[in-house]
């Protein structure tokens, strides 16, 4: 099986690579179109700022490539946000794979932004959370989040309910960092790799 991690300017992908190592999965980190197209699984990670990341994707044509992929694609964190329609972060038009916008958490007393730490996900559905209990804990660090929509497959509550996971056709996404979310995160990655 060939797993590709899409290489772009959005932060540190080392922990994703280590997580795949722990699962004994081999992978390739690349931005080459042919390599990405021929992969069995594609992981689209992301840490950083939305507009800079989108600009980079456009420069490389990856903004057209990613939505056209047919194999299972998993976007995480900012990767997930870039797969949505639009992000409030610097007013960024995103790839529009998921029909939902990404909004900043409002400042509310006692609720700090970024949403940092372990929170429970519920109303789970779809293949990636197979074998997990409702209200499993995963690790989040983010200031922006996609609203709940028909494509939501896991909900998390912080200030407001938001999409912790999304799924449409061959596209999957997680707002949290599955790669450092303990055994729960490991199971989600395993479920993705065995799709």
């Amino acid at each position: 099986m060939k797993t590709v991690i899409i290489k772009y300017n959005a932060g540190n992908v080392q922990s994703v690579m280590y997580a795949l190592d722990r699962l004994g999965a081999s992978y390739l980190l690349t931005d080459d179109e042919a390599e990405i197209r021929s992969a069995d699984k594609v992981i689209f990670p992301g840490v950083g700022e939305a507009s800079t990341a989108m600009a980079y994707l456009r420069e490389r044509g990856l903004d057209k490539l990613i939505p056209s992929l047919k194999q299972p694609v998993l976007g995480t964190c900012v990767g997930m946000q870039l797969m949505c329609r639009y992000s409030e972060e610097n007013n960024t038009t995103c790839m529009g794979i998921f029909d939902i916008d990404v909004r900043r958490f409002p400042n509310e007393a006692g609720l700090k932004v970024p949403h940092t730490g372990w929170n429970n996900i519920h109303t789970l559905r779809g293949p990636l959370t197979e074998g997990l209990n409702d209200n499993s804990y995963v690790y989040f660090v983010h200031s922006y989040a996609a609203d709940v929509c028909p494509e939501t497959t896991a909900i998390c509550d912080y200030v407001r309910p938001f999409s912790a996971m999304l799924h449409r056709d061959n596209f999957y996404a997680a707002q949290f960092h599955a790669e450092i979310s303990g055994n729960v995160g490991q199971r989600i990655l395993e479920n993705f790799l065995t799709l």
Partner: protein, 251 residues
């Protein structure tokens, strides 16, 4: 609900774990990678590694250690000690650290915080504050708490947030090593002054101290070292106890 976090801290010297009382009299408490794996398995929410003797030669040892830790555990971890440049941070993140922690270098060059936040994102920038109560004021200290600065602790915490720090690791040098409890009032003040998570450190001796720091102290995370390393408190017991007390915990 977002949980409160329990964070064991591993002080590292020459690739080994050590922990002193009031930062002197270091004692050896084992192999950091093995210890990290045990803590992750026991339910630690995150780990902090502080390299307390980060010289140039030891840097390579640390990078190697970070790589081994990243390969072994599946929870987030932070690395601190001797970090003073974007290049230092880049090397640690590339080795697999999820976050880095800076302290003296942030005091010396506050602009470093902005640079790191811009380059790597606030989520990985933890700024540690060592603070001591001097003549009726909380004053930021450096060099393991030995050297006072001109900075007032609460104002400094606000400035860190403005500059783009993602979290504050607050160590009270007055309570550190005493096992008499965290500095509750100051922790609550910092937590109220800055809208980023505060990790409270220094003074944990009993499970009730953690209850106090999460309620009265309004901390987002509690950090401790020797009580975990010497098994005076076991993490599963602590988390069970805190949950019983109505504090949200990942169990």
């Amino acid at each position: 609900m977002l949980t409160k976090r329990i964070i064991p801290c591993l002080d590292i010297k020459d690739g080994r774990t050590v922990k002193g009382t009031n930062f002197v009299n270091l004692r050896d408490a084992g192999d950091p990678v093995a210890l990290a794996a045990v803590y992750a398995e026991q339910g630690a929410d995150e780990l902090v590694f502080l390299d307390i003797t980060a010289t140039v030669d030891e840097r390579k040892t640390l990078i190697e250690l970070v790589r081994n830790v990243a390969h072994t555990i599946n929870i987030p971890f932070t690395v601190g000690g001797g970090i003073s440049s974007v290049a230092d941070v880049s090397a640690l993140l590339n080795a697999g650290a999820d976050k880095i922690s800076i302290n003296s270098s942030a005091v010396r060059n506050p602009n470093l915080i902005n640079e790191l936040a811009l380059e790597f994102g606030s989520q990985c920038v933890v700024v540690a504050i060592d603070t001591r109560f001097v003549n009726g004021e909380h004053i930021v200290h450096t060099h393991g708490g030995r050297k006072p600065t001109e900075l007032r602790t609460i104002a400094w915490a606000r400035e860190l947030e403005e500059r783009g720090a993602g979290e504050i690791l607050l160590t009270s040098m007055d309570t550190d090593g005493t096992k008499a409890g965290f500095a509750l009032e100051l922790t609550a003040q910092i937590s109220g002054a800055a809208n980023i998570p505060v990790i409270a450190s220094g003074g944990a001796g009993t499970m009730d101290h953690f209850v106090d720091v999460f309620t009265t102290g309004k901390a987002d995370a509690g950090l401790a070292a020797s009580i975990f390393h010497f098994k005076e408190i076991e993490i599963p017991d602590l988390k069970g106890y805190l949950r019983e007390k109505g504090i949200e915990m990942r169990i």
